[in-house]
Symmetry: C2
Subunit: 238 residues, 2 copies
């Protein structure tokens, strides 16, 4: 049996890829998903299916961020629509303050209780929404806080692994494809409808990624953005 690891599994493209990556590196993975009062339950359904496909145990941790934090992702207002060009320039209203900090703290508690000191998270600092808790410096600082503030951290040292950190979305998708990630089961849209909206930051970054990887996104969209529509036409011509 390989070393134990806890993988944050939101049900999105990045976390599915990270789980496949951790398994491919021989880790014995436990998935942890969060029911945090998000706008929709679609990503929890996706993460459940992904855990089944990858045959890993999964725990759903509940926290009510709804009352706690004002964000469009926890039902406070509509999801902001932005242009791909300036997505990384500012922090959108889907920002949930300290969300990854809370998730990692809870993952660390679970990990320590189950004898694992390795945590995988699918954060990415290139094609991302500009959230401060997706940045590399944050993960180092948080790992340090864990190593001081926990018994296991003191004794053994936690490792927060962020393997997608410096990959472009297209590179993540290529990596995932090579590892057999079933992207048709993943869910990225902030709106969480049966069909992805094709307009939010997350949909735009995802479709740009598939385009860059020269692949078609297998999930359904209500409406494609212009750039992806054009790409699909070019693909069909060739």
């Amino acid at each position: 049996m390989g070393e134990k690891a806890v993988c944050l599994l939101s049900g999105g493209l990045d976390s599915a890829t990270v789980l496949a990556y951790a398994i491919s590196k021989g880790y014995q993975c436990y998935a942890i998903s969060f029911n945090y009062g998000q706008r929709h339950m679609k990503e929890l359904v996706s993460s459940e299916k992904l855990a089944q496909v990858f045959n890993v145990p999964r725990i759903v941790a509940s926290i009510n961020l709804n009352d706690l934090s004002k964000s469009a992702l926890t039902g406070h207002g509509d999801v902001e629509k932005r242009d791909l060009k300036n997505i990384s320039d500012s922090i959108p209203n889907t920002y949930v303050p300290s969300r990854n900090i809370i998730f990692l703290s809870m993952a660390a508690s679970f990990a320590e209780s189950h004898g694992s000191s390795t945590i995988f998270i699918g954060a990415n600092a290139l094609d991302y929404s500009g959230y401060p808790d997706c940045r590399p410096e944050f993960y180092n600082a948080f790992e340090n806080a864990l190593n001081i503030g926990t018994d296991l951290g003191n004794r053994k040292g936690f490792k927060i692994k962020v393997p997608l950190q410096y990959l472009k979305k297209s590179e993540i998708i290529k990596l995932g494809k090579s590892l057999g990630v079933p992207y048709e089961l993943t869910s990225s849209c902030y709106e969480g409808g049966d069909e992805a909206c094709g307009e939010c930051d997350s949909c735009l970054l995802r479709l740009q990624g598939f385009m860059g990887a020269e692949l078609e996104d297998p999930i359904k969209y209500k409406k494609y953005p212009d750039f992806y529509e054009k790409y699909l036409k070019t693909r069909k011509k060739n």
Copy 2:
């Protein structure tokens, strides 16, 4: 109106004192209490009463640490009984991995959503149970992680205030008394019965504190430990 601050309020002696201290320093306080699957609800009742007495708004954040973390405080096994002399030497089975880390992350999320960058916590590194997330170095490391990983931290800087950090329990009680803390409403016992057990780390440290402050603890105990019984006899003689 003073600067806004979020105060972690467990309902115990330390957190009640910290709340009184923050108010005395002119902060406009919001209390946050946690329903985390603890052994008993007594401390939540205490924190509610304390918030009423101090006339501060209070939010109860829910997280199920029960499924997540193995600890005697979340119902996994009995609370370990130890001797006062070696309480700080090792970590007891009431240690909930990352508990303060999770609480502070959630408090930070709440604070940022409500425009506050100051968080008060009643941790104490002298008369404490030996939990790693009560140590001063941890708070510095965590503040640093927050300042990198959040928008408000980036812009303004979070301040985690730990005013009881270097105080002995007796000094905390003297401070609280001078600020009018109603210690009869606080609840410290890990067992959480109607009457405190008088045997757990928390009861022992509390009673030692009252003895050191030359005061009587106003709450009821099932049974006093020998040292406190002797102290009460000496008091009555004088």
